[in-house]
């Protein structure tokens, strides 16, 4: 079959794994939109509590908001792994048909779970509710049947990755990837049991949440970033792989015991104060390393790259990860501070910038890689028609998120002082904090940030579907360029 012309949107430009990746990316984008929309609803309810009261209560909107986030990020990661797998292993993806079936099963399951969230919402306090409606544990609310489905789906995915690498070429990148995926899926099991003891419940719940988000997900995006820097900038493999190992050492070295910062107040012994405090204080270091790595490589290649929007989002990722996960996390990670900030809008501020900065950005960077290839590896450098769209989408999404982050932090400061330090976190103390004008102003500014993000998202979608259309130039190739310059 002849490949379509450059600039024409056609999946014949892609290899098998990449075609499957595009499917994952499509669902990821739909869930990204859902995440933002339900976030807007939940944000509005802080300002107008009667809005949708009794129809879509805050707990429903918030649950869909955070679950859509977790799933779109995972789908983005799975998509990205399928995207780079054939290139990395040097052989077509093994078990692609199975991967395809699992994709549809997973997507169907996600749709059913969300419909139940929206229309059934809650259930009685028995085991049936936990199995079929809602598990009622933050981030992993998906009922147990869906948990089992997720485990089967990810095992299939894992099998495909391992089988492909075994058949083809093993690299440092695929080695780290396989070890990380194994940890990622193993950890999910830690969240799949019921216990009445809330301290034990939260202890293992954090194994899933923290060891995913602050360890295995970070390493996974390190893998994606390594591949992206090789592809977009032409950075040499030995450079990205050395950095990747440095990142793994620092990330796991700080992140695994950094888990202790979640064990200050849940009933666990107080030795976690210093273990959690010390190791989580180290957690920003690998994120600094990632910034240095990305910025240095961009400079070393004089910013010559094959895909401007992707490089833009990779840089946004490096800084967003460092500030959102690193700086914002560090600000309230020591127990002396966390005693007052734990469970306030501080956490929301950190959570928003960290998830966006660390994960949304790298997924969007990969969406642009896909958009480029879908049009036959089209030119995506300076002078591309309609470049204002990707630039403004990049700006609006980041500016909107920064506005939200700073606004939520202002509310968080007020909440931790008034509700926590002065009033002592009683019911009336909580509302004394929530009704204070300084808190409410933060919520209003957060809302403006949300609207700006929505606008940026609309622009991003428009751009992803149109960028490169009508362009006939082939993409700039950093590696060919380097070879030519070396020869000259």
């Amino acid at each position: 079959m002849a490949a379509a012309a450059i600039g024409v949107l056609d999946t014949s430009h892609l290899n098998g794994g990449q075609k499957l990746a595009v499917k994952y990316y499509t669902v990821a984008i739909v869930l990204f939109v859902a995440q933002v929309l339900f976030g807007i609803l939940a944000g509005l309810q802080f300002l107008y509590p009667d809005f949708l009261y009794g129809v879509l209560d805050f707990n429903v909107n918030r649950m869909v908001h955070i679950n859509a986030m977790v799933v779109w990020m995972l789908m983005g990661f799975i998509g990205s792994v399928y995207w780079l797998l054939e290139d990395e292993a040097g052989t077509p993806v093994v078990g692609l048909k199975l991967g395809e079936i699992i994709f549809y099963v997973l997507t169907g399951a996600v749709a059913v779970v969300v419909l139940v969230y929206l229309f059934v919402q809650v259930g009685p306090g028995n085991d049936m509710t936990r199995w079929f409606i809602n598990e009622g544990r933050e981030y992993i609310e998906a009922p147990r049947w869906a948990d089992i489905g997720i485990v089967v789906a990810v095992l299939t995915f894992f099998f495909n990755v391992v089988a492909t690498v075994m058949k083809g070429r093993a690299t440092g990148i695929t080695g780290v990837l396989i070890a990380d995926l194994l940890a990622l899926f193993g950890l999910y099991l830690a969240g799949m049991f019921y216990t009445t003891n809330v301290s034990i419940d939260q202890y293992w719940w954090w194994w899933v949440i923290h060891l995913w988000v602050e360890a295995t997900w970070e390493v996974l995006v390190g893998v994606i970033m390594a591949w992206a820097l090789m592809t977009v900038l032409g950075t040499r493999r030995v450079v990205v792989q050395t950095w990747l190992y440095i990142e793994v050492a620092l990330m796991f070295g700080s992140g695994i015991l950094g888990l202790g910062h979640h064990y200050f107040w849940i009933g666990t012994p107080d030795y976690w104060f210093w273990i959690g405090g010390f190791f989580s204080a180290l957690e920003p270091i690998p994120l600094v390393a990632m910034v240095v790595h990305a910025v240095y490589d961009s400079g070393a290649h004089k910013m010559r790259n094959s895909n401007h929007p992707t490089l833009g989002w990779v840089i946004a990722h490096a800084f967003g990860n460092f500030f959102g996960a690193g700086v914002w996390g560090f600000m309230h990670t020591l127990p002396q501070v966390n005693l007052y900030t734990h469970g306030t809008q501080w956490t929301t501020s950190h959570g928003h910038l960290a998830f966006f900065g660390a994960y949304a950005t790298i997924n969007i960077a990969m969406f642009y890689v896909a958009a480029q290839k879908l049009r036959g590896n089209v030119w995506m450098g300076a002078g591309i028609a309609g470049a204002w769209r990707w630039k403004w989408a990049l700006f609006l999404l980041n500016a909107g998120m920064l506005t939200m982050t700073v606004a939520l932090l202002a509310s968080g400061y007020e909440q931790s002082f008034i509700e926590r330090a002065i009033e002592g976190a009683t019911w009336s103390g909580y509302f004394a904090g929530q009704s204070h004008p300084w808190f409410v102003q933060g919520m209003q500014w957060r809302m403006w940030g949300g609207w700006v993000m929505l606008l940026g998202l609309a622009l991003l979608l428009w751009d992803l579907f149109t960028i490169g259309a009508g362009e006939t130039r082939k993409a700039y190739s950093p590696s060919e360029d380097e070879a030519a310059r070396t020869a000259a």
Binding site: G125, R130, E138, W265, T426, W427
Partner: protein, 198 residues
């Protein structure tokens, strides 16, 4: 190009990554065994479920310099002392209701959850319930009809009507009473408790 020094070599960092990860995991697993032992219900930090038969307070400790739970004399929930098995069943029903009614996506408990409604770690001890004698019935009434018994302190924010039954409300109260007895290393700090014991 000359070979990279050892500290910049791919192979050295590969080994460091493996060793650091392995060592961290070993330490975590060791600490997990110790923590599990310390937070099993019935231990010093997390009391047995039958603690709902006793008065629970939260008082400043001069050595630790923050408030700690204090288990007081007998004060059965709903005026009826229950056996250890009955207590566990009641608290379990409460926990399952807490999960099934999706409480965590408005409230926090032990500080974890959502931030649309108050933290529930010490809800049992909250002075907003007024008098100790009225507390249990007020809590049950509130949980069953939160929209009609809303106390929003001027924010207009009401708890959602979650169709909580009488049995579930009682179980939730038992669950929250038990949770208030957990030693949380002084979280929440500076909490003012309801007047108990005359």
């Amino acid at each position: 190009m000359s070979a990279a020094p050892w500290w910049a070599s791919e192979n050295a960092w590969k080994k460091i990554a493996i060793w650091v990860t392995g060592l961290s995991l070993v330490v975590l697993i060791f600490l997990t065994f110790d923590s599990m032992q310390q937070i099993t219900a019935g231990g010093k930090r997390v009391p047995d479920y039958s603690v709902i038969n006793q008065r629970i307070d939260y008082r400043f400790d001069d050595v630790r310099k923050y408030q700690v739970p204090v288990i007081g004399p007998e004060a059965p929930l709903f005026g009826k002392k229950v056996s250890a098995e009955e207590a566990e069943a009641l608290v379990a029903h409460g926990k399952k209701t807490f999960q099934g009614r999706n409480c965590i996506n408005c409230h926090t408990i032990l500080g974890n959850g959502a931030y649309y409604a108050p933290d529930l770690t010490k809800a049992w001890l909250d002075p907003a319930w007024g008098a100790e004698a009225a507390r249990e019935s007020l809590m049950i009434e509130f949980l069953k009809n939160p929209d009609q018994n809303a106390r929003t302190f001027g924010t207009g924010r009401k708890m959602a009507h979650l169709r909580v039954t009488d049995e579930e409300a009682k179980a939730l109260v038992a669950y929250l009473k038990w949770v208030s007895s957990i030693d949380t290393n002084g979280f929440p700090y500076n909490f003012k408790t309801i007047q108990q014991g005359g």
